[in-house]
């Protein structure tokens, strides 16, 4: 800043007040303008991110009259229905996060290290970009149309393989249908997150391991996976949070009766079904704590993995 601010001073203020004074004044006004320039951002963040969240968090610790209380938190733990909803949400998130982590890792590993034709990688990455952003109501209908009772795949499985999804107990408008639909955006998200980490595995490490007599399995066991460990766990945790906060897909697929915590919160916002405003705030607080903790874990693990992978 100093060199060119100086240049501007010379051209604009030749023969004016002492240069040093002008420089200081210019710097102060620059900082002032800059501060002014970021005001909209902070104003927006305060009004539409921080205050609404804070309002719920504070409300979670208040009774109807606005007095401090821990009653709402106790009520969650005393409410089997809400506990179940949290549990089902956690279960669905754990299953889709782990499933997507494994499957996504295999796909990413294939396009990065699998000696496949060069065009395949950008193709898979683009497809992953589309699929990871294709969520919500349309995704629900896509799964309904594909593996629903009269869906294309349902029909194929029955006529070519003799597999009847219905008699196997699979129902698309249930827990496992939601899992299948969530995997649709979770797997490609895993591919997108883990590809850069796989790029960071140096060829020399593998060569060195092979020279020392390691089998491919040994290489992954003692070099590859330990190096990728924090990235893999971090990505899984992020997938967990991604699934935990989701609602539209599950709501459109299974309807308001599926006992996910997001769907219960949706019902609560719509019609105060808990008949307790502040208990609703506590439910929201619980969700923020869970997604907040998993995001914090992700950031911590990502920083750890950057030690190896640059």
């Amino acid at each position: 800043m100093s060199s060119s601010a100086g240049l501007a001073d010379i051209t604009e203020h030749a023969g004016g007040p002492a240069p040093q004074q002008v420089k200081t004044a210019r710097r102060m006004s620059n900082t002032l303008i800059a501060t002014f320039g970021v005001v909209p951002f902070f104003l927006f963040s305060a009004m539409f991110l921080i205050l609404p969240t804070l309002f719920l968090c504070i409300g979670a610790f208040q009774d109807q009259g606005g007095q401090f209380t821990l009653e709402n938190i106790y009520k969650i733990f005393a409410n089997q229905f809400l506990l179940d909803a949290y549990l089902v949400s956690i279960k669905i998130s754990v299953i889709t996060a782990l499933g997507a982590a494994v499957l996504g890792f295999f796909v990413a590993q294939a396009i990065v290290l699998g000696n496949l034709p060069a065009w395949l990688r950008p193709t898979v990455t683009t497809l992953s970009g589309v699929a990871s952003n294709f969520a919500g109501v349309p995704l629900a209908f896509a799964f309904l149309a594909t593996i629903g009772p009269t869906g294309l795949i349902t029909g194929w499985l029955l006529s070519y393989f003799g597999i009847n999804l219905r008699t196997l107990g699979f129902n698309v408008v249930s827990f496992w249908g939601v899992v299948a639909a969530y995997l649709y955006f979770q797997i490609p998200l895993m591919v997108l997150i883990i590809t850069p980490a796989l790029d960071g595995l140096k060829k020399e490490w593998r060569e060195a391991a092979v020279t020392l007599g390691a089998t491919p399995l040994d290489y992954w066991r003692y070099v590859g996976l330990p190096v990728l460990g924090p990235s893999l766990i971090g990505a899984t945790v992020l997938l967990f949070a991604n699934s935990f906060g989701a609602i539209a897909t599950a709501y459109a697929l299974a309807g308001p009766s599926l006992n996910l915590i997001t769907i219960q919160l949706y019902n609560q916002i719509r019609g105060d079904v808990l008949h307790d405003e502040n208990l609703g705030f506590a439910v929201a607080l619980g969700m923020i704590l869970i997604t907040g903790a998993s995001n914090a874990a992700y950031i911590y693990l990502r920083e750890r993995s950057e030690r190896w992978i640059k």
């Binding site: 800043m1 060119s4 601010a5 620059n30 800059a34 501060t35 320039g37 970021v38 909209p40 951002f41 927006f44 963040s45 539409f48 991110l49 921080i50 205050l51 609404p52 969240t53 309002f55 719920l56 499957l103 996504g104 796909v107 590993q109 396009i111 290290l113 699998g114 000696n115 496949l116 898979v124 683009t126 497809l127 589309v130 952003n133 294709f134 109501v137 349309p138 995704l139 209908f141 896509a142 309904l144 149309a145 594909t146 009269t150 869906g151 294309l152 649709y184 797997i187 591919v191 949070a241 906060g245 989701a246 539209a248 709501y251 459109a252 997001t262 919160l265 949706y266 923020i288 997604t291």
Partner: protein, 260 residues
């Protein structure tokens, strides 16, 4: 190496099949409206006023979301990079919040904080609620917009450009919108298309704010007309594809870098 290549092919094929399967299934299902024959009958819903109104509404909200996001994010990134580097960690933390706070929690907060009897009754009238919806979408887009524009601006020499423009007598507005913005155009566009893809089918926030967007319309259609719902899902899929495709095309910066 031959064997691992086979394994790689298998992994990619299974993955790609999983991602393409629902697309095929939806297209096929949407053509089945007339019994015993394939037809585009279900797509006639695209001609109805209800569809067109909700779709237009979502398009306008999406475009406004992009414009407001750019107006908020570009000056912030610019000033943080140029003059207020100490604010960077705070700004980065804030832009991550929409990924941490689930959308449904955010809209819950809005409904309580800005209800019709509050100091700022943004849910009082339809117009005000549209504004609230717009800001909610700007919040959703913030992590993506910020990261796109921030990484875009790191590749241009903001300082030299600013000083050059200043020495030619340009004011702040001119510098921001005719010097800096064109230089991060590809970054802005890739953020914009991603924002578009996210906003166009959004359901949760719009539903709770009771706004007539494409996502809530689609949900209503799905309740009674499965074939039409499939046809609309195909359209939604096509829009997501188009947005991501355009993001690839425009996001690639083909011009030589200025000011190095």
């Amino acid at each position: 190496m031959k064997t691992s290549s086979v394994g790689a092919w298998v992994a990619v094929c299974i993955g790609v099949f999983y991602l393409l399967m629902p697309l095929m299934g939806t297209v096929e299902f949407s053509l089945r409206m007339l019994r015993g024959t394939y037809s585009f009958e279900a797509y006639k819903i695209l001609g109805t006023g209800e569809f067109q109104q909700s779709f237009l509404f979502s398009m306008i909200i999406a475009l406004l979301t992009i414009i407001v996001s750019v107006l908020i994010v570009v000056p912030t990134v610019y000033f943080v990079q140029l003059r207020l580097p100490k604010l960077r960690p705070i700004v980065e933390f804030i832009t991550l919040l929409p990924l941490v706070i689930p959308a449904i929690v955010l809209v819950f907060g809005y409904l309580r904080l800005y209800n019709s009897s509050s100091w700022l009754p943004l849910t009082g009238t339809a117009e005000a609620t549209n504004v609230l919806l717009l800001f909610a979408y700007v919040a959703l887009a913030l992590p993506y917009m910020y990261r796109a524009i921030d990484s875009g601006m790191r590749t241009v020499d903001v300082r030299t450009l600013t000083e050059a423009a200043e020495s030619l007598g340009a004011g702040l507005g001119t510098i921001l919108f005719t010097v800096i913005l064109p230089n991060v155009r590809s970054a802005v566009l890739s953020g914009a298309f991603l924002t578009f893809a996210i906003v166009i089918g959004e359901f949760t926030i719009a539903s709770l704010l009771d706004r007539p967007v494409f996502g809530t319309y689609l949900q209503n259609v799905g309740a009674g007309k499965p074939y039409n719902a499939s046809a609309l899902s195909v359209v939604a899929f096509a829009i997501t594809w188009a947005s991501m495709g355009l993001m690839q095309v425009f996001g690639r910066d083909r011009r030589p870098k200025v000011a190095h």
